[in-house]
């Protein structure tokens, strides 16, 4: 069978969702952000909620999320996305409101805001990208950086005596009464991507059911920050991140 006979509109089984704008992503090759953006866009498209969804982007690499997903966006000050989301959802309860935050944004400078938004049980979705490093500023230590991990500000590896311990913030979030769904996922292979997409869809659905906050952590790679090529970075993540940040649902009610 000739390839030309296969490549026909009626045979299309997977393509770029129209919810992704035409822009080339500014992320480095292989970056997990792109995959997560894509599946958020797919979920919004499949749920038919483009006109009802407000995204809130953080400070960090994904500050420019608004350039890629074709919905209304607010761009928050560093760490404050959950505060914006709180007001947005309370003032427009018929909207789907989600924050998209990295580990520096959510687990360091924005710790107070995320804890209290989750504790109040705001009916929002939180997408938390944990790649254990600060990407945009050039690969410095994040709160989630592993012990021994080399970064620009831990050139001899993270040491507990000097830098404290990696923060399992998702485990803390799961303890809060206000959260209804807390899960940790990843996007390094097709199965993982499909699971994460399901988790994000569930989180969006929860936000209309007044059940509280849904929190989806995605353990991710930062090839440039880690200084590891994309495919090997996925392997490094599986070998080093997953033992400390095990995947799966922590809470689902």
């Amino acid at each position: 069978m000739d390839i030309k006979d296969i490549i026909k509109p009626e045979n299309k089984v997977y393509g770029r969702t129209p919810l992704l704008k035409d822009a080339i992503l500014h992320y480095c090759p292989g970056c997990s952000h792109g995959v997560v953006h894509k599946i958020i866009a797919e979920v919004i498209e499949e749920m038919g909620i483009q006109d009802k969804t407000i995204g809130i982007s953080p400070v960090g690499c994904s500050v420019f999320a608004y350039n890629y997903i074709d919905i209304d966006w607010q761009q928050a000050a560093h760490g404050r996305a959950p505060a914006l989301a709180t007001a947005t959802k309370r003032l427009m309860p018929d909207k789907y409101v989600f924050t998209y935050q990295g580990d520096g944004d959510l687990a360091s400078i924005g710790t107070a805001e995320i804890m209290h938004a989750c504790n109040r049980g705001e009916n929002i979705v939180v997408i938390f990208i944990n790649n254990a490093i600060y990407g945009m500023t050039g690969g410095q230590m994040a709160p989630t950086t592993l012990l021994g991990q080399v970064t620009a500000t831990t050139p001899y590896g993270r040491k507990a005596e000097l830098n404290g311990y990696p923060l399992k913030i998702t485990e803390l979030i799961a303890q809060l009464e206000g959260t209804c769904y807390v899960t940790r996922q990843s996007v390094q292979n097709p199965g993982a991507v499909r699971k994460t997409k399901k988790a994000i869809q569930k989180a969006f659905e929860n936000s209309m059911m007044k059940k509280g906050t849904s929190f989806v952590e995605v353990v991710s790679t930062c090839n440039s920050g880690w200084k590891i090529p994309p495919v090997q970075a996925n392997k490094w993540m599986e070998d080093n991140m997953f033992p400390f940040y095990p995947l799966g649902d922590m809470k689902d009610r």
């Binding site: 997977y14 997990s32 292979n189 495919v231």
Partner: protein, 73 residues
Amino acid sequence: MALKGAIVVDTEKCKGCGVCVANCPTNTIALSKEVNSKGYNYLYMANLDNCTGCTNCATVCPDAVITVYRVKI
């Protein structure tokens, strides 16, 4: 019945990260020796006959540059 597939790559948007190649179960795809205008070795179908249209490559693609087609034969 067998599945026969093909992909179309937006080569200008492809960054040649190779995550798709590592996730292709049929050894269909590879990175080209040619580069796009950004200097990336973009994705192409190296073994046309192998593709089953499983969508694994497109699913893991961070830049959403792959469109997948499939027929049953």
